[in-house]
């Protein structure tokens, strides 16, 4: 599945996105975040406090319980600060 990172999540992980193979137990945003946190020390640091991170599935805001599939584009980022 396609993962994208923005703002300080992108900076902490050191890349704007990556293609990952979804393990079977990863079925929603919450389990996906816990899985991503295991990929590297930088991922672990970025996802250390999941409460500070927001997500979108296929360009719509999503919450921890929302389901993800292999074909989804999932993005992680801090709370938005535009305007």
């Amino acid at each position: 599945m396609q993962i994208l990172y923005f703002a300080w999540v992108r900076e902490k992980i050191g890349m704007a996105g990556e293609e990952i193979a979804r393990p079977d137990h990863v079925t929603d945003i919450g389990t996906l975040m816990r899985h991503l946190a295991t990929l590297s020390p930088r991922h672990s640091d970025a996802f250390a406090n999941p409460m500070t991170i927001r997500a979108a599935i296929n360009q719509d805001f999503a919450t921890a319980g929302d389901a993800v599939t292999d074909s989804d584009e999932v993005a992680f980022f801090p709370p938005v600060t535009g305007g």
């Binding site: 994208l4 923005f6 703002a7 300080w8 979108a56 360009q59 719509d60 805001f61 584009e73 993005a75 980022f77 801090p78 709370p79 938005v80 600060t81 535009g82 305007g83």
Partner: protein, 147 residues
């Protein structure tokens, strides 16, 4: 149908206003909000990052919500991205309606929702060389929830 734009270039309020009102005689009220970059605490520049595939879609949804709640004859949202220096305009919201309360309320609503529901992130660069990501403000969430 709202006009939505996400761009690096500055916007032209007079041209955007004319586009909403030209040739019409049913508009009694036009409200606008322009957000500008302030030079607080030695700020040298603000860098606006966004989620390109999502941004215009998120803005269009916010505009559609305003159009569902108020009888607008038109609505424009333009948000800049990239590097902006103090004094530069960042965002423009325009609302047109036959009556003033609809235009004014929709304009305030659009700004409140845009601050909390559109995928933009601000990074502040200071004259000292220090930089930091702007943190979301509790007041902005509270303002968005009042609608």
């Amino acid at each position: 149908m709202a006009r939505i734009a996400v761009q690096e270039a500055p916007f032209d309020i007079a041209a955007e206003t004319a586009a909403l009102t030209e040739g019409r005689t049913d508009i009694g009220a036009l409200a606008s909000f322009t957000g500008l970059c302030r030079a607080d605490d030695g700020l040298a520049a603000m860098v606006l990052e966004h989620y390109p595939a999502m941004t215009e879609r998120a803005l269009a949804k916010i505009a559609a919500e305003a159009e569902a709640r108020w009888p607008l004859t038109g609505c424009t949202i333009i948000h800049r991205v990239g590097r902006l220096v103090p004094g530069a305009p960042i965002v423009l919201v325009l609302t047109a309606s036959s009556h003033r309360s609809a235009a004014l309320e929709a304009c305030a609503f659009l700004m409140d929702w845009l601050k909390t529901k559109a995928p933009f992130w601000k990074r502040e660069e200071f004259t000292t060389g220090h930089a930091r990501w702007v943190e979301a403000r509790h007041e902005d969430s509270a303002a968005a929830q009042r609608w």
